[in-house]
C-alpha cells in the first residue's frame, strides 16, 4: 500500500512526466532536502468528490511534509503533476494549508514547488475555496517566515497569486510557466499568437515582469539556488540570520578599488566588481538579476553575517532610478527588514530617469516606495556613496536623513542637488549666454562646481556623511559598522500598518 501511495498517479503517469524531461514531486523533494530527512504528511489523503470522472489517488494533487536543508528545518509542498495533472482540489488544498500552518506554528521557511494544471474543474467551488485558504496563509505568513516558490511546471489563472505573494520565485527555463490567461485565450480574444514560453516562461518573468527573482537552467540548478538562498536567511522573523565562518579576513583591503572608477565620470564601470571585492569570498547571490538591471540587489555575507546589498549599476541607464528599479529595491528592502537582515547600500546614481514614459506610468508613485521602504526599515543600514548622488536619488538611496545608521563616502563621491552640467546651466545662465566661448566657460564652471559643491567633504562638514573613507578600506569600514550596529533596536510609532503608495 505504501508503494502505491508513493507512486502518485501510477507508473505510466510517472513515465509521461519523465519523458517531458520533468522530475516527479517526490524526486524533487529528495533533491531539495537533506537525504533521509523528509517526513511525508497526509500520504493517504484522497479527494472526497463523488464525480466518477476523477479517479481517487493516494496523496491527491500534492506531496507535503517537512525535512531539513543543511540541517535546518523547512516545510515543503510539491504539486504532483502525475495525479490529475496536479490540479488543486479540496483535499490538496487542505494538505497544503496544513503544511503552511505547521510552518507558521514552528517558525520555519516554507517552500512550494508548483507544477499544476490549475483548479480542479470537477470539484467546482471547493477548488476555488482551496486557493483562498492558501492565499490567506501566504498573506499571514508574509514577513513571518520566508516563503519560496519554485515554478517547475505550469501555473495558470488565479493560482499564480500564491507565488506572487511569496518572498522569492524561482522558475526553471523551458519548464516553468506562469500566466493569468493562457495563450489559447489570448489567441481567441485578441488574435495574438504567442507561445507558452514567450508569454509566461522563466525568461519572460525574470526580465520583463519581474515576477521571477531567479531563473534556473534546470531542476538541479533550481534546488541548488534554493538551498543557497535559504542558507542566507533566518528561520523566522524572530531569529537572526545564521552566522557562517567564511575565512575571509574582515580587515582585508583591496587597493584595486582605488582605481576602479574611470577617470571620466561619464564612463561606465561594473558596480558588481566593487560588490564582489567587499563581500566575503566574492560570494554575491544576486536577486532579480535580469530585471531592472540599473540597480543590483542580492544577498552576501560580510564578516560572516548575512547582509542585503543594494547598489546602483552605472552600466545600465547610467545607474539612474526608474519605476522598475524602485519597486524591485523597495520589496527587497522590506524583505530584509522583515527578517533582520542588515542593508548595505552602495550609491552611484545621476538621478531619476526622465521622460513621459516614466512620468505617465507613475514614477512619482513607484519612486516613493523606495523612500518609504528605507524609512520604515529598522535593521542596521550602512550606506557608502561611491560616485554620483544627485537630488532625489541621493535621498532615496539610503541617505542619512532616512535614518540610515552609518554613511560613508569615497573621495570620488559627488553629492549635489543637480549634476554639474545641469546645475551651472541654471545658475550661470546669464553668464553662459553672454560668454564668448560658451563650451569652454561651461567646462570651467562645471569644474568649479565640482570642486566647490559636489565633493563629499561639504556633506561631511554637516555630518550627513559620517566618514570619508579610502576606497581600499571599504570592506573593513562596513564590517566594523555592522558589528557596531549588531544590537540595534529602533522603534516606530504604533500603527496597524503604514499606507505605502502601492
Amino acid at each position: 500500500m505504501k508503494k502505491s501511495a508513493e507512486s502518485g498517479g501510477g507508473n505510466d503517469k510517472i513515465e509521461a512526466q519523465h519523458s517531458k524531461g520533468k522530475l516527479t514531486a517526490r524526486e524533487r523533494i529528495a533533491l531539495l532536502l537533506d537525504e533521509g530527512s523528509f517526513v511525508e504528511l497526509d500520504k493517504y489523503v484522497m479527494h472526497r468528490s463523488d464525480d466518477p470522472a476523477i479517479q481517487k489517488f493516494f496523496g491527491d494533487g500534492a506531496v507535503t511534509g517537512f525535512g531539513a536543508i543543511a540541517g535546518r528545518q523547512v516545510f515543503v509542498f510539491s504539486y504532483d503533476f502525475t495525479v490529475l495533472g496536479g490540479s488543486l482540489g479540496e483535499m490538496t488544498g487542505k494538505k497544503i494549508a496544513k503544511a503552511m500552518d505547521h510552518a507558521l506554528k514552528v517558525g520555519c521557511p516554507i517552500i512550494g514547488i508548483i507544477d499544476s494544471g490549475g483548479a480542479r474543474i470537477q470539484e467546482g467551488v471547493a477548488s476555488l475555496d482551496a486557493y483562498g485558504d492558501i492565499f490567506f496563509r501566504n498573506a499571514m505568513a508574509s514577513g513571518v517566515i520566508p516563503q519560496i516558490t519554485a515554478g517547475i511546471g505550469p501555473c495558470a489563472g488565479g493560482a499564480v497569486y500564491s507565488p506572487a505573494m511569496t518572498d522569492f520565485v524561482i522558475m526553471v527555463e523551458n519548464i516553468g510557466q506562469m500566466f493569468v490567461t493562457g495563450p489559447e485565450v489570448v489567441k481567441e480574444v485578441l488574435s495574438q499568437e504567442v507561445s507558452f514560453e514567450e508569454l509566461g516562461g522563466a525568461r519572460a518573468h525574470a526580465t520583463k515582469s519581474g515576477v521571477a527573482h531567479f531563473v534556473a537552467k534546470n531542476e538541479y540548478d533550481c534546488f541548488d539556488k534554493i538551498k543557497k538562498l535559504v542558507s542566507f536567511l533566518p528561520q523566522n522573523n524572530a531569529e537572526d540570520p545564521p552566522i557562517v565562518e567564511t575565512n575571509d579576513d574582515p580587515n582585508r583591503i583591496d587597493t584595486n578599488l582605488v582605481n576602479i572608477l574611470p577617470e571620466n565620470p561619464y564612463q561606465q564601470y561594473d558596480m558588481k566588481e566593487i560588490i564582489k571585492s567587499i563581500v566575503d569570498n566574492a560570494d554575491f547571490f544576486e536577486v532579480h538579476e535580469l530585471f531592472a538591471e540599473n540597480i543590483v540587489v542580492g544577498f552576501a555575507r560580510m564578516g560572516g553575517r548575512t547582509v542585503g546589498i543594494v547598489a546602483n549599476q552605472p552600466m545600465y541607464l547610467a545607474g539612474a532610478l526608474d519605476i522598475n528599479s524602485s519597486t524591485k529595491t523597495a520589496r527587497f528592502i522590506r524583505f530584509c527588514d522583515s527578517f533582520n537582515i542588515p542593508i548595505v547600500t552602495l550609491v552611484d546614481t545621476p538621478g531619476y530617469l526622465p521622460g513621459t514614459d516614466q512620468e505617465h506610468n507613475g514614477i512619482i508613485r513607484h519612486g516613493s516606495k523606495l523612500l518609504f521602504a528605507y524609512c520604515e526599515a529598522t535593521v542596521p543600514k550602512v550606506t557608502c556613496i561611491v560616485g554620483k548622488a544627485y537630488g532625489g536619488a541621493y535621498i532615496a538611496m539610503g541617505s542619512k536623513n532616512l535614518k540610515s545608521d552609518i554613511n560613508y563616502a569615497w573621495p570620488t563621491a559627488e553629492i549635489a542637488v543637480l549634476g554639474p552640467e545641469a546645475a551651472i546651466t541654471i545658475i550661470h545662465r546669464r553668464d553662459l549666454k553672454s560668454s564668448a566661448d560658451a563650451v569652454a566657460r561651461k567646462k570651467h564652471l562645471a569644474k568649479e562646481y565640482r570642486d566647490k559643491f559636489a565633493n563629499p567633504y561639504i556633506a561631511a562638514e554637516k555630518g550627513t556623511i559620517d566618514v570619508v573613507i579610502d576606497p581600499a578600506e571599504t570592506r573593513p569600514f562596513i564590517i566594523q559598522a555592522l558589528n557596531a550596529l549588531a544590537n540595534k533596536k529602533e522603534s516606530r510609532p504604533w500603527k496597524k500598518h503604514g499606507n505605502i503608495n502601492l
Binding site: 537533506d34 531539513a68 536543508i69 543543511a70 540541517g71 535546518r72 517558525g107 524572530a238 545564521p242 587597493t255
Partner: protein, 498 residues
C-alpha cells in the same frame, strides 16, 4: 678591473627572482626586488632585503618599464641589475642604459646582445668562425623570389622565420614553392606590422631533430668555458617542457667536440657572462648551430645539478670582473638531472591557462629533489605574466634513478586552485619511449602522449573512486549536522514571542 657588487636589483619576478635573491644571500649581497600591483604579496617581494613598487600589473607598465627600473635602481643605490630571463634580459638598450647610469649589468654587453639578437648577423659571424649552421638564407630576405631561390638550394621543406623576436613564435612551414609564396606574403605582412619591416629568413626544415644546447660562461678576460649540454627536445609549440642532462645521444667525444664549437661561437661574438648555444641535431648525428641565447635560461638548474656549479653566483662573479677560476678539463659531468616545467595550464584542455589563488600546495622534497618556485599556500598565480609556476628537478646517479625520483616527486607535488601540467609529465616519466631516450621535437605527437595521458587519468580515477564516494557521503553527513547545531545555541526567540 673588478668592482665589488654589494647590492643587486632583480629586474624580474616569479621563481627566477627568488633564485637570484638566494644567490645574493649566499654572497651577502643586498637584494632589491621590484614588484607590480599584481605581485604585492609575491614570494620574491617577501624574501628580498628591500622591495620597490614599480607600476601597475601590465608588464609594459612594470617589468618592461626600463626607465623606471633603472631609476629605481639608482634611487635604491643598487650596484648592479640582474635581468633574469624574459622581460628585458635580451633588450640591448637595457645594458646600455645601465652603463650610462653607472650600474653594472649582470649579463652580456649591449654589443654582444645586438649580434646574438640579430639571427642573420649571428649566422654570418658563425659561418665565418666555421661553426656549422642550418642550410638556408645567408641574410635577411625581403623579396619572395630570393626566398624561393634559397629554398630550392637548401631543399624543401623549409621554414620561414622572422629575423627579429625569439622564443619560438612566428615560424611558418612551406612544403613546396607554391606554399612558400603564400606563407611569405603573410609572414612579411606580420613582420612589417610588428617590427616595421619585412625581415624574414629561410631555413631548411630538419625533421625528427633533437634540440641540444650547451651552457656557456665567458668572463671579461676572454676565458670561455662550456658547461656541457642539455637536451630540450620535448616541446610544445616551440616551448620547452622537459630538459635534461646528459643527452642520451651525446657521448664524451661528441660532448667535447660540440662543446668546443659552442665555445668558438661565444668567442666569435665576444660574448660576456652566461649564455647558451643552441643546436639542432638531425637523426644522422649532425649538429647545426641555431642561435645564442644571451641570458641565463629557465633550465639552468639542470646544469647546476650535474656540474655542482652555481651559475647565478658565477654570473655575479663575472660581472664583478673576476676571472673564471676553473679550467675546461677540471669540469666533470656527475650523474643525470631532469627538469619538468610545471606550468599553470590544463593539459587536458588544450593547455588552457589557469590563474588564481593557490589555497594550498605540497612541494616535494627528498634525496635528489630540487624545486625552484614562487608558490606558497595562499599565493596568486597571475594572468598578466607567463605560466611557469615551478621547476621540478630530479638528480640521480644515472638516468634511471633520476627518472624514478622525478616520477615519485610528481606524485607528491599537489597544487590546489589551478590546473597544472603535472599529469602530462607523469605520463612521460612512465613512457617507454622516453625511457629509451627516443626524443625529438615532435615527441608528444609522435608517441601520442596526450592519448596516453587521458588513459592514465581514467585509470587513476578508477583507483580513487571508492574513496571519492566515501568522501561525498561523509560530506552530506556533515552538512546535515552543521545546520542542525546552529539553531540550538540559545533559547529560540521564536518560542519567547507572544
Amino acid at each position: 678591473m673588478s668592482k665589488k657588487i654589494s647590492s643587486i636589483l632583480i629586474a624580474n619576478r616569479g621563481e627566477i627572482a627568488v633564485r637570484v635573491i638566494r644567490a645574493c644571500r649566499e654572497m651577502s649581497i643586498r637584494s632589491i626586488a621590484i614588484y607590480s600591483d599584481e605581485d604585492v604579496r609575491a614570494m620574491h617581494v617577501k624574501m628580498a632585503d628591500e622591495a620597490y613598487h614599480i607600476g601597475t600589473a601590465a608588464p609594459a607598465q612594470s617589468y618592461l618599464n626600463m626607465a623606471k627600473i633603472v631609476e629605481t635602481a639608482n634611487a635604491a643605490g643598487a650596484d648592479a641589475i640582474h635581468p633574469g630571463y624574459g622581460f628585458l634580459s635580451e633588450n640591448e638598450n637595457f645594458p646600455e642604459m645601465c652603463e650610462k647610469k653607472g650600474i653594472i649589468f649582470i649579463g652580456p654587453t649591449a654589443k654582444a646582445m645586438e649580434v646574438t639578437g640579430d639571427k642573420m648577423k649571428c649566422k654570418e659571424v658563425m659561418n665565418k668562425a666555421k661553426v656549422p649552421t642550418v642550410p638556408g638564407s645567408d641574410g635577411i630576405i625581403e623579396d619572395v623570389e630570393k626566398a624561393a631561390d634559397v629554398a630550392h638550394k637548401a631543399g624543401y621543406p623549409v621554414l620561414l622565420k622572422s629575423a627579429f623576436g625569439g622564443g619560438g613564435r612566428g615560424i611558418r612551414l612551406a612544403n613546396n614553392e607554391k606554399q612558400l609564396r603564400q606563407e611569405f606574403e603573410m609572414a612579411s605582412a606580420e613582420s612589417r606590422a610588428a617590427f616595421g619591416k619585412a625581415a624574414l629568413f629561410v631555413e631548411k626544415y630538419l625533421q625528427r631533430i633533437r634540440h641540444i644546447e650547451f651552457q656557456l660562461i665567458r668572463d671579461s678576460h676572454g676565458n670561455s668555458r662550456h658547461l656541457f649540454e642539455r637536451e630540450c627536445s620535448i616541446q610544445r609549440r616551440h616551448q620547452k617542457l622537459i630538459e635534461m642532462s646528459p643527452s642520451p645521444v651525446v657521448d664524451q667525444k661528441t660532448r667535447e667536440g660540440i662543446g668546443e664549437i659552442a665555445v668558438r661561437a661565444a668567442d666569435a661574438v665576444d660574448y660576456l657572462n652566461a649564455g647558451t648555444a643552441e643546436f639542432l641535431r638531425d637523426p644522422e648525428g649532425n649538429f647545426y648551430f641555431i642561435e645564442i641565447n644571451s641570458r641565463l635560461q629557465v633550465e639552468h638548474p639542470v646544469t647546476e645539478l650535474v656540474t655542482g656549479l652555481d651559475l647565478v653566483k658565477l654570473q655575479i662573479a663575472v660581472a664583478q670582473g673576476e676571472e673564471i677560476q676553473f679550467k675546461q678539463q677540471d669540469l666533470e659531468m656527475n650523474g643525470c638531472a631532469i627538469e619538468c616545467r610545471i606550468n599553470a595550464e590544463d593539459p587536458f584542455y588544450e593547455f588552457a591557462p589557469s590563474t588564481g589563488i593557490v589555497p594550498n600546495c605540497n612541494i616535494p622534497y627528498g634525496p635528489g629533489i630540487r624545486v625552484d618556485t614562487y608558490l606558497y599556500p595562499g599565493c596568486n598565480v597571475s594572468g598578466y605574466y607567463d605560466s611557469l609556476t615551478a621547476k621540478l628537478l630530479a638528480w640521480g646517479r644515472n638516468f634511471e634513478e633520476s627518472r624514478i625520483r622525478m616520477r615519485n616527486a610528481l606524485d607528491e607535488f599537489t597544487i590546489e586552485g589551478i590546473n597544472t601540467t603535472i599529469p602530462l609529465y607523469k605520463t612521460i616519466m612512465n613512457d617507454p619511449n622516453f625511457i629509451k631516450g627516443e626524443l625529438s621535437t615532435d615527441y608528444l605527437d609522435r608517441f601520442k602522449i596526450f592519448d596516453k595521458m587521458n588513459e592514465q587519468a581514467k585509470e587513476e580515477v578508477r583507483e580513487r573512486a571508492l574513496a571519492a564516494v566515501a568522501a561525498v557521503l561523509l560530506q552530506s553527513e556533515f552538512v546535515k549536522k552543521a545546520g542542525a547545531t546552529q539553531t540550538t545555541t540559545s533559547r529560540s526567540n521564536w518560542k519567547m514571542r507572544g
